[in-house]
Each structure stands twice: as C-alpha cells, then as structure tokens.
Subunit: 181 residues, 2 copies
DNA sequence: AATAAAAAAATGAACATTCATTCATTAATG
DNA sequence: CATTAATGAATGAATGTTCATTTTTTTATT
C-alpha cells in the first residue's frame, strides 16, 4: 500500500502499473494478488486507510467547547497542516476524487455527512443559527473553506508556492472572513 | 476535437480511446492522425482552444476603469457563468490540470502570468497598493478567489449542487470579503 | 465541358506495446 | 508433512499508431 501510495501520488493511477508497485514493494507482481483481489480493491483500501488517519488526526485535541471562530480556525489549521506534512496523501486523494473511484463516493458524502465532516458542519449550522456565519447552504460554506485550502496545498505540493507559518494563519482568517457575516 | 472533448470530459483521458473518439466523430480511427500527430497533440490543441475561448469571453465588456470591487465581482461572475454554461469545458480542464499534461504548463503559468490572468493580477496588485486588499502574494489571493469557485463548479457539474442566481452573487461577494481588508 | 492525371484525404485491418491478472511451480512456515 | 505464501513467466485484453489500399478532391489537358 505504501508503494502504491507513492507511485500513484507521484505519477497518477496510470503511471503506477502493478509491476512497478510490486517492484517498489520488493515483491513479485503476483504476490500483490494474495492480499488484494484487484488493483481497484488495493486503491480503495488505500483510500479508506488514508481517510481514517486524517479524520483521527483532525479530531485529536479538538476544542469542542471553544467559540465558533476558534473551532473553525483550529480545524482549518489542522487540515492544512496535515496535508502539508503528508503531501503524498494529498496528491493521492486528489487523484482519487477526480477519478471514477471517488465520484460515487462523493455523492454519498455530500448527502449523508460522514465523520470528520460533521465537526465542520456543526460549526456552520451553529454559526448560521447565531447570525455569525452567512446564511448559505453547507456546500457553499464548505467550498469557501476547502476551496482555497485545497487550491493552495496543490500548488504547494507541486512546488509552486512556499507556504510559511504566519501566512497559514492569515489564510485561515481570510477564509473566516469569507464565511462570517 | 469536439468528440474528444465530450468523451474526455465525461469519462477522463483513459475512458476516451482513439477508436471511440473516431467513432463519435464519425471518421475512421486512422483519420485522426491526418490532423493530429498523436493523442497528446490532440489533447494539447484542444486545451489551447478552450483557453483561447475562455480568455476571449472574459475580456469581453470588461469594465477596465470601474472601481476595484466592481471589477473583481465582474471577473468572478464571468468565469463562474462561463463554466456553468460549459460544464464539459470545465470537466476537461479539470482533468487536464490534474494530469501530467497540465502540470508543466502550470509552472509557466504561475511565473509568467499569461493573458486572462493579468486582469485579476492587476486587481490584486492595485488593491494591495491602495490598502483595499490584504497584503498576500498573488498566488494566495488567487486561491481565495478561484478555490471556492472551482470547488463549487465541480460539485455543480457533477450534479451535487444546484447553483441559483442570487446565490452566485453572494458567493462572489463572500470571496471579496475574503481578500478585502 | 469532359476527361485524365495527380494529389490529398479517408479507411480500417494489422502491429506493437502496455498492463492487469492468472497459475503452475517453488519456497517458507507451522 | 501440510498449509500457506511467493514467484514470475504466460495470457489475453485494451489501445495508440502505422500503412497499404481505396475514395475523394483538385489540377491539368484536350
């Protein structure tokens, strides 16, 4: 799975043939099929594994009873830092969500909000209720938050931008400005 | 090129074999090679064509001498409307930029700002100078603008969200809130 | 206008390559 | 000895590209 992650993150699904994944993992090509029924299964399990790790790391130390703005900035920072720390995870997930694999999954995700998303959705809903956050549907508020975040991380992992510490906090605050009234 | 656009936008680069492109275009497979040296060339020319159309349409009626905020909202709206009107173009470009094709191109794009981008960069630079816009690098300001936009359009073209008129304007204003001081 | 010759374009079967997957065989483990 | 795992060559399907052949269009000649 690690070998697959690296290859796919760097070269995309089609730059990662099973033979190369096997080579990188120092096993024979056929061995992979002892543990994964197919390439699709391998990729889907890899995706699940990454999601699990991310949601775990984000919920860690979450200041559940802090003011709205603080909770928002915390979440934003955590997600941002996670991806900056694990650029390969980001690249892989990006590939995944833009492929047929991810799209059906995404549909479910949007309707029945899963864990990890819940934290943010709660912030939005409470914010709207208390007249702190603009009265938008959750999807729009999420786009105002994650849109810039993903956009930037992408450029960063590709080496186009260098994100420094003070800038990150200012970014988070700018996104808060976008959603607050 | 039209057949390629449709297939690639709907099923990705790898769901669009030359044989199918040819079939959709009602020519034989070999015929494509009279006009395009290879699949790569076809794809790159298609990309250039789309970029040309978009930059043209965006610059049309641009209120070059209006106040900053107005110019920003105009640009934002134009880009948004273009993609909502041409979902296939959006899907294609999204594929393109997330593939090896687009990444090298992107590098150039970020350094030497090309046409179309210039309009927005001018707004940013003037805004920073006049203390209307937050003092961020252009890349960050761009992410605060295009990040949410692309994010939303993606969900819209995939049929997850329905973007209505009044919402669009509010979105644009929210993004302005993100970059303004 | 009519015809012939030449050039250009279209065709699609054949080719070469890539790649996921299988499986008979060998090695490792309990 | 039995069971499980690993191996990697072989398989077959998919796909980009080529090219000899056919069809269409253009040009030249009568």
């Amino acid at each position: 799975m690690e070998a697959a992650l690296e290859l796919i993150a760097e070269k995309g699904f089609h730059g990662a043939p099973m033979a190369e994944i096997a080579e990188k993992a120092k096993v024979a090509a056929g061995t992979i099929y002892t543990y994964f029924e197919s390439k699709d299964v391998l990729i889907n399990e890899l995706h699940q594994e990454l999601e699990k790790r991310i949601t775990f790391e984000i919920q860690e130390n979450f200041p559940a009873f802090a003011p709205l703005r603080e909770r928002f900035l915390y979440l934003f920072g955590k997600v941002l830092q996670y991806f900056l720390k694990h650029p390969l995870h980001f690249r892989f997930l990006e590939q995944y969500y833009n492929s047929p694999y991810g799209i059906s999954l995404r549909r479910e995700r949007i309707l029945g909000k899963s864990e990890g998303q819940t934290l943010l959705m709660d912030i939005f809903e409470q914010g709207v209720e208390e007249n702190i956050v603009k009265k938008f549907p959750n999807g729009i508020l999420a786009s105002l938050t994650f849109g810039p975040l993903f956009f930037l991380v992408r450029d960063h992992t590709l080496g186009f931008i260098n994100l420094e510490e003070p800038l990150l906090e200012q970014m988070a605050e700018a996104c808060w400005d976008a959603i607050k009234i």
